[in-house]
């Protein structure tokens, strides 16, 4: 199982890296979600795997009676999931706001802070405030 899990994590990392290299920031976000999952699995697996024995102490006992799963990585993963969620939520808001302000989710069109010619330049393409009206959404597209 360890081998297969490692391979799965590898695939998760590879796919998420590919997504994070996309110029479309939304794809980056998708990659981020997958990568967080992969890393959570890394931590989880690092504490070694135990099937079917959650780290709970039965009523009337003072300690787990048999072998139970390693509780520490579970706690760590839980924390990491929550933190990851917080970061993701903020990033989503940031992407949303950026799109509303700059009119793009393509990072190669975000050249305000580092303008191409060394000057602040508004190309006019930016700052539309909402989705590009040249390419309106259609009902069919809404289905996807």
């Amino acid at each position: 199982m360890e081998l297969l899990l490692s391979l799965t994590i590898g695939v998760l990392v590879a796919t998420s890296t590919y997504l994070m290299l996309d110029r479309n920031v939304l794809r980056f976000l998708f990659g981020l979600v997958l990568l967080s999952n992969a890393v959570n699995l890394v931590i989880f697996a690092a504490g070694r795997l135990t099937a079917g024995a959650p780290p709970l102490i039965d009523a009337g006992e003072y300690a787990p009676t048999g072998v139970v799963a390693n509780a520490l990585p579970q706690a760590l993963v839980l924390t990491a999931i929550v933190i990851g969620f917080g970061l993701l939520a903020f990033t989503l808001a940031l992407v949303y706001r950026t799109f509303m302000t700059l009119g793009t989710v393509n990072s190669d069109e975000m050249r305000i802070a580092e303008p191409r010619d060394g000057r602040d330049e508004d190309t006019g393409r930016l700052g539309l405030g909402r989705a590009n009206p040249d390419k309106p959404a259609t009902g069919q597209e809404a289905g996807i």
Binding site: A14, L34, F44, A93, R111
Partner: protein, 764 residues
């Protein structure tokens, strides 16, 4: 420049003026008082500054430092007095004075320091002060350029010098000059000797403007005249000479020392003399003669014999006296007539007799005519040159002769021509300067004469001890005006003859030089500009390449760095290992399915061109991960994972309402380079995981938690007990993240809504 500013009503610069004059004057008297003691031998005083780094604020008082201290304070008094009148009504005069005093402190510290690090500290103080003073007329682009040039050239030298200081400190085991100079043999024999020498000379040559680092000095004349007189002729530029002199006992006496110093010094002296002839602005003429003097001093320090060093020390004093006087004089002329052009000025002795007197005394000394002290200086140089053996004697003597001839001519140009003949019309009507401005040149000129008449005093109190300090051993020093008829005198006479001829024909010579220069490809000043432009272009190019504003590129580099460094280390360090669970034996079909679900979700997310499908894919992968958590006994984690998945869907489905669709397949196809990086990331992760899982696991922590959870922390859910008791601080930080993420997002979203934007506009 001195006139075109709004005047502030201050008498003699106000309090700032009086303080600025009193400070050097009092110090001058104080140092004078030390003369008799130091004539007996050097003294070291001092206290710790940064003992951990071996840095002390120790003072080495010997002939050399005292000579310099007297020049700094003495000429400093003349210059500050002069400035109080010259710039006293300038709105920025107080700033000017503070820079000047800062410089003075730096310069004094430099020459008095016994500790090399302390010397360096003061060295840099003079650099900064010089930068601020050259740029004093900040509105002029030329001033700013010159200031920067001076700063960078001397700054470069300074930093190289610092390296030299550190290395010599490592070799000698101390930074104290008084101890380092005792270890000359050890240092000269050390394998790093040549490196140390070159590092020190780089510092000295840049500061003292030796060719090819000379170009900043004439430009530095953009500074107000008192600054030129003080820094760029009498004091700061001599710091480099001082350094070489100071290090002579430790570094001197080798072939390398001899040849480098005499060659650079000689070339600088002759080159500067020629350039001096070529100028029309008298201040520029003087600037180049300063350069010539610096070259000469360097050359004689390089020559290294007792006589040569004595000649150098004597010339040091001589030059400071006449050059400061001349600079101040030209300032008065400029002030009075509005021009400094040699071709325009003439017959000023009628309108400005005292100025003419001062100029005459200084110029005669410069020309080396008896009975001025300048004559003695020149004689001793010839004697020293002739006293060397072999090619050295030839080189030094010829260079000294050539330079002296041209100095003679220049003396005529700057002090004879403007004052002789009929008064010529000038931009403003010529009039005699005020006493505070005249006092300095007159006193300095008079000193040139007095020391020429009684050279013994100079020799006993100043030149002797200084020579002793530089040469390293005590030998008698005897200065005299008349040394009998000898080879040196012959050379002197030849100098006068050749000099006079040159003076008579200098207009023609100048024209020739200017023609030559217009075809001269080697223009150091323009080269400087090209260097700077080239550097800036290189910097801009590099930055465009690296910081190009393209996020995917940043990401790619970041991930690629990870792949290369971590992957490379993995291979180089042979980290691969294999062990438990590295087969597919006993993997339950359910587990296969769950892993397949995760992979399918991830692949779907990558492949799809529909964002909601991507969200679904992420969801599937997330659910698969939750299933893994369930299978491997982590109900709390599974619950949390599922809850978070749901919340992500909630938030994403809200945001996606406005966010744009993903681009269609036509745009942005398969990215091979990115795929390679991504594959590398995946591969490395897998390898790291398998290798890590192959090792043994130390369950200490978990065993403790299992044992303590109920009896000591009263909880049966070990995971929750870890979260709220064993590792509370983690959870504490975690909720801060959640709360702050929410507040941050709220601010981001609300700050952008039309409603609050109007609020912002109302606020202004």
């Amino acid at each position: 420049m001195a006139d075109d500013y709004p005047k502030v009503d201050r008498v003699m610069g106000g309090p700032a003026g009086w303080i600025s004059v009193a400070f050097p004057a009092i110090l001058f008297l104080y140092f004078l008082g030390w003369l008799p003691q130091i004539a007996q031998g050097p003294q070291v005083h001092g206290f710790d500054w940064v003992p951990s780094l071996g840095v002390r604020l120790s003072v080495l008082l010997d002939g050399l430092s005292l000579t310099f201290a007297l020049l700094i304070t003495g000429i400093g008094t003349a210059v500050t007095l002069y400035s109080a009148r010259y710039l006293g009504q300038h709105p920025d005069y107080p700033r000017f004075v503070s820079y000047l005093l800062m410089f003075m402190v730096g310069m004094l510290g430099l020459v008095l320091a016994d500790n090399l690090i302390a010397l360096f500290v003061f060295w840099e103080v003079t650099t900064i002060a010089s930068y601020l003073l050259i740029g004093f007329n900040a509105d002029s682009a030329k001033s700013r350029r010159s200031a920067l040039q001076a700063l960078l050239v001397t700054g470069t030298g300074g930093l190289i010098l610092l390296a030299g200081i550190i290395v010599i400190g490592n070799v000698a085991g101390t930074f104290e000059l008084s101890q380092i100079t005792q270890q000359g043999d050890l240092i000269r024999a050390h394998p790093w000797y040549l490196a140390i020498l070159l590092l020190f000379l780089a510092g000295g040559f840049t500061k003292s403007a030796q060719v090819p680092f000379h170009f900043w000095l004439p430009n530095a004349m953009a500074a107000p005249t008192p600054v030129s007189a003080y820094l760029h002729s009498a004091t700061m530029v001599k710091a480099g000479v001082f350094l070489m002199a100071r290090m002579n006992p430790a570094l001197g006496g080798t072939d390398a020392w001899f040849w480098i110093l005499t060659l650079f010094g000689g070339v600088t002296a002759v080159f500067a003399s020629v350039m001096a002839l070529r100028q029309t602005d008298i201040k520029q003429v003087l600037a180049y003669t300063t350069l010539m003097a610096l070259g000469t001093l360097t050359m004689f320090l390089g020559a290294g014999t007792h006589y040569a060093i004595m000649a150098a020390m004597l010339f040091l004093v001589v030059h400071s006296l006449y050059k400061a006087a001349l600079f101040l004089m030209i300032g008065i002329v400029d002030h009075a007539t509005g021009t400094r052009e040699a071709g325009v000025l003439g017959g000023l002795s009628k309108a400005m007799p005292l100025t003419g007197l001062a100029a005459a005394m200084a110029a005669i000394s410069m020309a080396g005519i008896p009975p001025m002290v300048g004559f003695i200086g020149k004689e001793f140089m010839y004697k020293a040159g002739l006293g060397l053996g072999g090619f050295g004697a030839f080189w030094v003597t010829v260079m000294a002769f050539a330079a002296s001839v041209m100095m003679f001519a220049v003396g005529g140009i700057v002090a004879l021509k403007p004052f002789r003949g009929d008064l010529r019309p000038t931009p403003t009507e010529a009039h005699e300067g005020p006493w505070p401005m005249l006092a300095g040149p007159l006193v300095l000129g008079a000193l040139s004469l007095i020391f020429g008449l009684v050279p013994g005093v100079l020799g006993y109190y100043l030149v002797g001890p200084a020579t002793h300090a530089v040469f390293g051993e005590v030998r008698p020093v005897h200065l005299y005006l008349w040394g009998g008829f000898n080879m040196a005198l012959v050379l002197s006479i030849l100098t006068f003859v050749a000099g006079w001829l040159l003076y008579r024909r200098h207009e023609a010579v100048r024209a020739g030089l200017m023609r030559f220069e217009s075809r001269n490809p080697v223009d150091f000043d323009a080269g400087w500009d090209r260097l700077l432009e080239g550097f800036k272009a290189m910097a801009a190019w590099q930055t465009r390449i690296i910081q190009n504003g393209d996020l995917p590129r940043y990401m790619a580099v970041t991930f690629a760095t990870f792949v290369v460094l971590v992957g490379g280390t993995f291979i180089l360090r042979g980290a691969f290992a294999t062990g438990v669970g590295m087969t597919t034996d006993g993997v339950h079909p359910i587990q296969w399915t769950v892993l397949a679900l995760i992979i399918a979700g991830a692949v779907l997310t990558v492949m799809t061109h529909s964002r909601m499908t991507a969200v679904a894919g992420m969801g599937a992968a997330g659910i698969g991960v939750a299933l893994l958590f369930i299978m491997f006994s982590a109900p709390d984690v599974a619950i949390t994972q599922l809850l978070v998945e749901v919340l992500v869907v909630v938030l994403v489905s809200l945001a996606m309402l406005r966010l744009p669709y993903l681009p269609r397949r036509t745009k942005g196809g398969f990215r091979t380079g990115h795929a390679v990086i991504a594959g590398g990331m995946g591969l490395i992760t897998t390898l790291l995981m398998t290798s890590m899982l192959a090792g043994a696991f130390d369950p200490r922590l978990t065993q403790f938690f299992e044992a303590a959870s109920y009896p000591e922390a009263f909880g049966r859910n070990i995971v929750n007990v870890i979260l709220v008791d064993f590792r509370t601080v983690d959870t504490f930080g975690e909720i801060v993240v959640v709360a702050i993420a929410a507040i941050g997002a709220l601010a981001l979203l609300r700050g952008g809504s039309p409603r609050s934007r109007t609020d912002a506009e109302k606020e202004g």
